[in-house]
């Protein structure tokens, strides 16, 4: 007979300190993304499945076969993918995992995920035309925001997101309902990589430039050192009573490293990047903790 447990709550994810930090963070966009390469990549992010042809790029595994320029292949013998750019829909999609497993960690991973979504959304509003927040399980799972003026509304929307359980495939399907899929930031713990494999591949095949974001918590690499623990999976509510000793801790650390490898491999197989971001001190957020997000977005 399992005892009931209380899920940790994430109250007020966007504290005053974070809100005061956000404008400065969004203002660093020019410095961080000033390079030519970054600009090119930023441009790439608005390429779409339909729109104006803006050039070619080297074919990459997972690209939509319909966009291969066979004429160029006939001329050069190399595969090139046609680059199209939306005219008026240069947007970013931020998918955020609302599952209970995101409540694990100290502080909960969901806190970092929401702040990460706020930063990514803010950057998109400041740089591009719009951002779509795809939150499977929410009452309004696909909310679109346009212009930097909607940043408060974006933050409010993120704060109001519930805890919900949806499969990664459902989340991917929800993201693909948009008319054009550009750059997709998927924020999740990717706790069970095989469950995400099909979703990442389908997104990639539909032309989405997928970037995985994994808000790291200390427990991902540093298991408990000892004690008799009741380990609970908040998603399945399964639990395990475990006396922890040194050998178990070492083995668990090995398993966590193995999980990280599986996560990286999964994204590599989909031709995508997986960024692991550590939030730092959640109570006293510092600009330096969030600059890597800006930097990674500019790549």
């Amino acid at each position: 007979m399992s005892r009931p447990f209380q899920l940790p709550e994430v109250s007020e994810p966007f504290s005053a300190e974070f809100r005061s930090l956000l404008p400065a963070l969004l203002a660093t966009r020019g410095k961080v993304g000033a390079g030519r390469i970054e600009r090119l990549r930023a441009r790439r992010t608005v390429l779409s499945q339909s729109g104006t042809f803006v050039g070619h790029r080297q074919y990459e595994r997972g690209d939509d076969l319909r966009h291969i320029d066979w004429s160029a292949y006939a001329r050069t013998g190399e595969l090139f993918t046609k680059q199209l750019e939306d005219d008026d829909r240069r947007a970013v999609t931020v998918m955020i995992d609302l599952s209970p497993s995101m409540l694990a960690g100290t502080p909960p991973r969901r806190l970092a995920a929401l702040r990460l979504a706020a930063v990514l959304g803010g950057l998109a509003l400041a740089r591009l035309d719009a951002v779509s927040i795809v939150a499977p399980g929410a009452s309004n799972p696909n909310q679109r925001f346009t212009g930097i003026g909607q940043l408060p509304r974006l933050l409010h929307h993120l704060e109001e997101l519930p805890v919900a359980t949806e499969t990664p495939n459902a989340a991917a399907a929800l993201a693909l309902q948009a008319e054009a899929v550009g750059r997709v930031h998927w924020i999740s713990d990717f706790a069970v990589p095989p469950d995400f494999r099909l979703a990442t591949l389908s997104l990639r095949r539909r032309g989405a430039r997928l970037t995985g974001w994994l808000p790291a918590v200390p427990e991902d690499e540093s298991p408990p050192t000892g004690g008799y623990l009741r380990v609970i999976d908040p998603e399945t509510e399964q639990e395990l009573s475990v006396p922890v000793d040194r050998s178990l801790r070492d083995e668990l650390h090995r398993q966590l490293m193995l999980l990280q490898r599986q996560q990286r491999r999964m994204f590599a197989e989909a031709g995508c990047q997986l960024w692991r971001w550590e939030q730092g001190d959640a109570a006293q957020p510092r600009l330096s903790d969030y600059l890597p997000i800006v930097s990674l977005c500019a790549r």
């Binding site: 005892r3 940790p8 497993s101 427990e219 009741r230 009573s241 193995l258």
Partner: protein, 531 residues
């Protein structure tokens, strides 16, 4: 199955507590993790399983507790139908000493019992009651081994019929082993084993002894009887041992009728065992045919005689004759010489102390002054002289011819007079016996040469009686032998019945405690392997 102490089953109420204690401890710290799969993989890699309650483990533990409770209640399988106790009533009366060859009936009974008792199942309580003579009880191993049952003797005082009847219950069986002698009927319940002891038997039923100690004369009075199939039974009496002349006497006995025979014997000087035996042809019970009397040796006194110069030869002659008659010897009175009897004729011997008591007990004096203070006055021709007709010294003696020329007054110590001068209505003692309990001394107020006493035919007898009285009876006892009880004499008069075998005993009670202990231990052992 039954329980000896079922109150221990209350311990089963501990089962809920046991269930509670069997639960694994609850972790106090809670960790919410998205990596439960990794925890499980790590546990699996280390071949570990989380602590958890197992119904099988609890069931095994509960089984161990239940088995322990039942074991504490001492379970057993009740015994089957039939007796579980055996009481052997073993007749050990005197008739069981009848021999057949070189083995008595009692010994044969014991030999028969031994293998039968060995065959009695171990769970049967065995008691052996030796009936007859001393009542002995043996129980358990001592009973099965028939230890120290003694020899048959005495009468069968126990009523075997009543004993067997009262002992016999649904759980107990009595087994009577007897020859039926001295009984009118035999037990009708339980097992019965009869022993054949019938046959002719002669028996000395009583021995009476008339002992003339310290004189060698010994008279025996024997009551004898014989039993057999014929009306007239020839027998012989044999007396031998501590007598000068062994005697044999042929007797004709009527069946079952007691005869009394008297034997006059002269015992030997050194004493010893005197054997009296009645011999009857075909006698089956020898032990009641003979008796052995322990005859002590004769005193063989050392007789000394003291006489002054005026004395005649009488006292020396009397000492010699007495010593010869009683097997003693005459010794000369001197310092360091032990004397058994002292004869003194005249003179002075310091025997009397100031308080009037005599220092020496076995003394016979004739006109002897016993104390320095005594002043005897001569007393001429005291006449007439009379004597006691009842005294041990003079009973049956004729002293009418006693003439005394001179006697001495104020000479005799205080004592019992047995001869005296009759002065009208007054009797003046001329001889007294001073009684000292077991011994005595005899004193006469005249000397032998002043009277014709040595010449009288009664003198040797008086001298012998004075000797006997002086020695007393302290060492003369000859133990009168025990005689066989009346019921054990006629071996032809016996109750008879057919032998009855022992019934089948109940199956043993099976104690199940060890099985439950084993089940409990087995459950605990299995529990150690169940994860």
């Amino acid at each position: 199955m039954n329980l000896t102490e079922p109150q221990y089953l209350w311990a089963l109420l501990l089962l809920p507590l046991l269930w509670w204690l069997s639960q694994p401890p609850k972790p106090r710290k809670q960790v919410v993790s998205a990596h439960l799969a990794q925890w499980q993989l790590a546990m699996r890699a280390l071949r570990r399983k989380p602590p958890r309650g197992s119904w099988l483990r609890f069931a095994l533990l509960a089984l161990a507790l239940i088995a322990a409770c039942i074991a504490a209640a001492r379970p057993f399988q009740p015994a089957g139908q039939g007796p579980t106790k055996l009481v052997v009533l073993l007749d050990a009366s005197a008739s069981m000493a009848v021999t057949n060859g070189d083995q008595s009936a009692f010994a044969r009974a014991v030999e028969q019992l031994r293998p039968d008792l060995d065959a009695v199942p171990e769970h049967v309580d065995v008691t052996v009651l030796r009936c007859g003579g001393d009542l002995l009880r043996r129980y358990g191993v001592a009973a099965r081994e028939l230890q120290d049952l003694g020899e048959p003797a005495g009468s069968l005082d126990a009523d075997l019929v009543q004993l067997a009847r009262e002992l016999t219950t649904s759980e107990c069986v009595a087994w009577t082993v007897t020859d039926g002698q001295g009984q009118t009927q035999l037990p009708e319940v339980g097992a019965l084993t009869m022993l054949d002891t019938a046959g002719p038997n002669g028996v000395i039923t009583a021995v009476r002894i008339v002992d003339a100690w310290p004189l060698p004369t010994l008279q025996l009075e024997l009551d004898i009887e014989a039993h057999g199939s014929s009306q007239q039974i020839d027998a012989s009496l044999h007396v031998q041992g501590a007598v000068l002349q062994p005697q044999t006497m042929r007797v004709e006995l009527q069946r079952g009728r007691m005869q009394t025979h008297r034997l006059s014997l002269q015992r030997s000087k050194n004493g010893g065992n005197l054997t009296i035996e009645l011999r009857v042809a075909g006698d089956r019970l020898q032990v009641d045919n003979w008796h052995t009397l322990r005859v002590p040796p004769l005193p063989a006194p050392r007789v000394a005689a003291l006489a002054d110069g005026d004395a005649g030869p009488f006292v020396s002659a009397a000492a010699g004759a007495l010593a010869e008659e009683v097997g003693g010897e005459v010794v000369t009175m001197a310092d360091g010489v032990a004397v058994g009897l002292l004869l003194v004729d005249g003179g002075f011997v310091a025997l009397q102390k100031e308080n009037g008591e005599l220092e020496k007990r076995r003394v016979l004096t004739f006109g002897t002054r016993l104390s320095q203070d005594a002043e005897p006055q001569p007393w001429l021709l005291p006449s007439p002289v009379d004597w006691s007709r009842t005294s041990d010294l003079t009973r049956g003696l004729d002293l009418s011819e006693l003439r005394i020329q001179r006697a001495w007054q104020n000479l005799l110590p205080a004592g019992e007079p047995f001869v005296w001068w009759v002065d009208g209505n007054r009797k003046v003692p001329l001889g007294v016996v001073v009684d000292h309990g077991e011994t005595a001394s005899v004193h006469l107020a005249f000397r032998l040469e002043d009277s014709n006493l040595p010449l009288l035919p009664a003198f040797p007898q008086l001298l012998r009686r004075a000797f006997v009285r002086s020695y007393g009876k302290a060492q003369t006892s000859i133990a009168t032998p025990l005689v066989p009880p009346p019921g054990e004499r006629d071996l032809m008069a016996r109750a008879e019945a057919d032998d009855r075998p022992l019934p089948a005993f109940a199956d043993p009670e099976v104690v199940l405690t060890r099985w439950f202990v084993a089940v409990g231990l087995l459950a605990l052992a299995f529990r150690a392997f169940v994860r």
